[in-house]
């Protein structure tokens, strides 16, 4: 009998092309997602060295990072130009590189265009048990369907394009088990913010985190993608959630997913991937779901998490001197005083979107809070950015767009938007944003912008009151 293995070890073992004596292995990559920002230099490298893409059939390109989220076509259906010349040049490069190298390409006006990490699972291009890479750290997202997925740099993008492999050192394994039921108003986003607060921004470094436990099993695929998406914010290379009936039901019938007899064979294989009884992890963290409140960040690291009922911490309260210094710096940047109640912090901007929270369930959660309400007068800018054209169409079919618009929010075209200040959607310097994105780094949403990470329902609640708000006060 073979040694019991974790989900991670099973996926790793199934992808070893060549084991090296130093412990590294050449690992086969099943799916490569490409976007406009981290790929131009990789394609240029291929061209310079006269190399081709080894497996264009396993590669999918879609622009998302710097496409504007304002309308892309005029009333007559003609494509509108992108006004920023640098963004336009990056998009043009991808548009030229994809056909030149024979890669599948979803263009900026295609109905299924969207954020690459929303599009992959939605199209069934991402599959359980697959190795998936993309030149973007939030590739960890695809772990929500049980894929070993991680972000890579541009040199590695070029390496995968040329060889369909990566030379990797096996990661350590970490289990984060969340047991029990979460309370009302607590979403997948609150679970992952809470986890990041507990383990810290470097807590998962060198590890792949498998999220287990009844609170994780109870989540939809949308929620699981949210959890795994932010594995990187805890420093982990990747997140994983074992594929189960929820996963199979989500993937069945999607365009690139296996069909008929192939589907049955695939499901049988995917079922075999779950961590064996008796397998051990290098590190285990257990969290009681009942301890998780709707959560919010106060600082400039995603580990700076408190319950919405909490207060801004005093830097002196941290044991680690370097954390004390970092916290003091964060508070200065954030313009916050220790002891301030989080619920007393006003916000002028609301961003509902990003690869963390732009799927249909996120749209529904935000709309449920906003229905019949309007945004507060001090909220100057509030945008809802669906993760893909398909999410947008679904939301519109359900009338969610009307709820947002009636509440005074803007309903946009899909893209990465205000998550990263690369496209026109930015938060002005010195202003706050209740944001459903994944990073509250200095300058992340624009130079000087102050980000508070929250769930979609919490962002909607903040839009209504004009301050960080406990969404439980607005729901039954």
């Amino acid at each position: 009998m073979t040694r019991p293995r974790t989900l991670y070890e099973k996926i790793w073992d199934a992808h070893v092309v060549e084991q090296r004596p130093d412990g590294t292995a050449l690992i086969f990559i099943d799916r490569h997602l490409v976007h406009e920002v981290t790929s131009p230099q990789a394609f240029a490298g291929l061209r310079t060295s006269g190399r081709t893409v080894r497996r264009p059939d396993l590669t999918l390109a879609v622009p998302d990072h710097n496409v504007p989220t304002t309308p892309r076509k005029d009333a007559a259906g003609n494509r509108l130009p992108i006004t920023d010349p640098e963004s336009a040049a990056q998009l043009a490069a991808l548009e030229k590189n994809a056909p030149e190298f024979g890669i599948r390409y979803i263009d900026a006006v295609a109905p299924e265009q969207g954020i690459v990490h929303v599009v992959g699972p939605e199209q069934g291009f991402s599959l359980p048990g697959a190795t998936i890479v993309c030149g973007d750290s939030h590739t960890a997202c695809h772990g929500g369907i049980g894929a070993l997925a991680f972000g890579i740099g541009t040199s590695e993008v070029e390496h995968v394009l040329a060889t369909q492999t990566l030379l990797l050192q096996p990661a350590k394994t970490m289990e984060v088990r969340v047991e029990g039921d979460v309370g009302p108003g607590v979403s997948a986003k609150d679970i992952i913010l809470h986890i990041t607060g507990v383990i810290g921004a470097a807590g998962g470094t060198g590890h792949v985190i498998e999220y287990t436990g009844s609170a994780i099993r109870a989540l939809s695929i949308e929620g699981r993608l949210t959890i795994s998406n932010m594995a990187i914010e805890g420093g982990a290379r990747a997140g994983l959630i074992a594929p189960d009936e929820t996963t199979f039901a989500y993937l069945k019938g999607r365009p690139y997913a296996p069909k008929s007899a192939d589907w049955d064979a695939a499901v049988e294989y995917w079922r075999s991937l779950a961590t064996d009884p008796g397998a051990t992890y290098d590190k285990v963290v257990v969290i009681d779901a009942a301890d998780i409140a709707p959560s919010v960040t106060w600082g400039t690291s995603p580990e700076d998490v408190v319950p919405i009922t909490g207060t801004v911490p005093d830097p002196a309260s941290f044991a680690d001197p370097s954390k004390q210094a970092a916290a003091a710096k964060s508070l200065a940047y954030m313009g916050l005083e220790p002891g301030t109640r989080m619920q007393d912090v006003p916000v002028e901007n609301i961003f509902i979107g990003s690869c963390t929270n732009s799927r249909i369930e996120d749209m529904r959660a935000a709309a449920a809070v906003l229905k019949g309400r309007t945004k507060a007068p001090n909220v100057k800018w509030a945008i809802v950015v669906p993760g893909s054209g398909l999410v947008k169409a679904q939301a519109e079919a359900e009338g969610l767009d009307r709820i947002f618009i009636d509440a005074g929010l803007e309903w946009r075209e899909p893209g990465c938007s205000a998550c990263l200040a690369m496209n026109p959607d930015k938060v002005p310097a010195g202003e706050r944003c209740a944001s459903t994105s994944n990073r509250n780094f200095v300058g992340r949403q624009g130079p000087g912008a102050r980000t508070h990470l929250v769930s979609p329902a919490m962002a909607a609640a903040a839009a209504v009151t004009g301050r960080l708000t406990d969404v439980r006060e607005l729901i039954d």
Partner: protein, 196 residues
């Protein structure tokens, strides 16, 4: 890639922990299709302060950067490594790095040295006034005051840095093994090919 073995010079005593790649190079500098010139945007938010470390005469062009835990966390952007390289930095010394950043650094001829916080604290002190030396072959960091710290590094990364190797050319030597794996995958899990 330029080979790297011995580096001696001033070390920028940044010392901060959780320095993310958005701080190293903000996203608006990523709107380019080449690798060059990123140094201009490096540490932009920190350098907005006229008294910042990077632009002090003694640290201009310094080949070494000393930082705190979890250096290079966040975004996978290799632009962070390009920006450091363009600033002239060949070695970063920190207690820990994000996994993606350390890989990107090595691929761009930048050595990420891992030392415990106590050693970092001592080096920060030295760097305020004096140069620091790194010897990759012998895996040491030394100072003019007889401090000597040894560090661990993955042998493959060490070889790549010492020889300035191009990883794609190395992997291409495994072409037959990759082909054999692809055949096996098609036989065992034919449904892994995208259906459409």
């Amino acid at each position: 890639m330029t080979p790297l073995n011995q580096v001696e010079g001033r070390a920028i005593p940044l010392g901060l922990k959780n320095v993310d790649t958005d701080v190293i190079i903000p996203a608006h500098w990523l709107k380019t299709t080449t690798r060059e010139g990123m140094g201009r945007g490096a540490f932009e938010s920190l350098r907005a302060d006229p008294d910042n470390l990077f632009d002090r005469p003694e640290y201009k062009g310094a080949p070494i950067l000393i930082a705190g835990d979890n250096f290079g966390c966040g975004s996978s952007r290799e632009h962070a490594a390009w920006a450091l390289g363009d600033l002239g930095i060949r070695v970063v010394i920190a207690p820990s790095y994000s996994d993606i950043f350390s890989g990107n650094a090595v691929k761009n001829g930048i050595l990420p040295v891992v030392l415990p916080q106590a050693a970092i604290d001592r080096l920060l002190e030295v760097a305020a006034t004096d140069p620091v030396s790194i010897d990759l072959e012998h895996q040491t960091v030394t100072t003019p005051f007889q401090d000597r710290f040894t560090f661990e590094i993955d042998p493959f990364r060490k070889m790549c840095l010492l020889d300035g190797l191009d990883e794609i050319s190395l992997t291409e030597k495994s072409d037959a093994a990759i082909g054999a794996y692809e055949d096996r995958l098609d036989a065992e899990r034919p449904w892994m090919r995208p259906a459409a």
